[in-house]
Symmetry: C2
Subunit: 171 residues, 2 copies
Amino acid sequence: MKGYIQVYTGNGKGKTTAAYGVAVRAIGAGMKVCLVQFIKGLHSSEFNTFKKLSDSIDIFQYGEGNFIFNEPSEKDIYKAKKGLERLKAIIASGKYQVVILDEINMAVYLQIISIEDIIDILANRPENLEVILTGRYAHPKIIEMADLVTEMNEIKHYYKKGVLAREGIEK
Amino acid sequence: MKGYIQVYTGNGKGKTTAAYGVAVRAIGAGMKVCLVQFIKGLHSSEFNTFKKLSDSIDIFQYGEGNFIFNEPSEKDIYKAKKGLERLKAIIASGKYQVVILDEINMAVYLQIISIEDIIDILANRPENLEVILTGRYAHPKIIEMADLVTEMNEIKHYYKKGVLAREGIEK
């Protein structure tokens, strides 16, 4: 089966969770999934669920937590570079049919990962590999390369009511 | 924890999968999830994965398959009514912390479920229940009641290249 490039971008809730939903579907069809998270570095509830599915999904994190509102530190940049190296190895391994690059758009936007590196990886991926890229501010070159792009637009969000991230729902 | 009403609507891919992603997260936090699917009546790959998580998620289907391009039949209407009855029992049971009403927006749009019935259910739900509604054409009254609304907009879709639904990715 030919693999495509899917992008979930925009300012609304549902980008990472949509990628998780594709993972759930792919696992159900016997595929192997790899989730590589950039930017994020925290344990989130979903990892407990993925642990139960660990024959089918591997997870790697290359972030220092949420620095969206700060300048990336040296350590952030170092981790992102490590993530990129690992990503190349993940793809070269041929072990996976779906690779999710969570928050990669944000990593490119913050310039801790270069757009050229990502384009190179996408252009040279195996034919049967589905790659899913999430995060705000998807680079125009990534949108151009992608086969499917959904923009999640925030129409209403309870954060604006002062609701904090809740365990099991947002984290 | 107070439960909210989340809506995923719009014409882009990612509505149902975003709801699945929330399910994965909620399950990881020890919550019980109920997925009620309207319109759809087919087995989809994700059910194999949910089967492995069956201590934490129950699934009910009340559709006859994909009739989006046809008029709903008597049987569709009958099933939707049954689904609505079941939904009331599901909510009344107090067993779940998250209830996903997949394609409910479409069921309301097609008038096989009345907007009044849904509003009544949402308005009278227990305080701690998170309800997630998916599907195109979300009713303005549902958007008004919701705490979180994301519109998934299709920017690019490989269906337009003639790609059919692929097992493990779309079904």
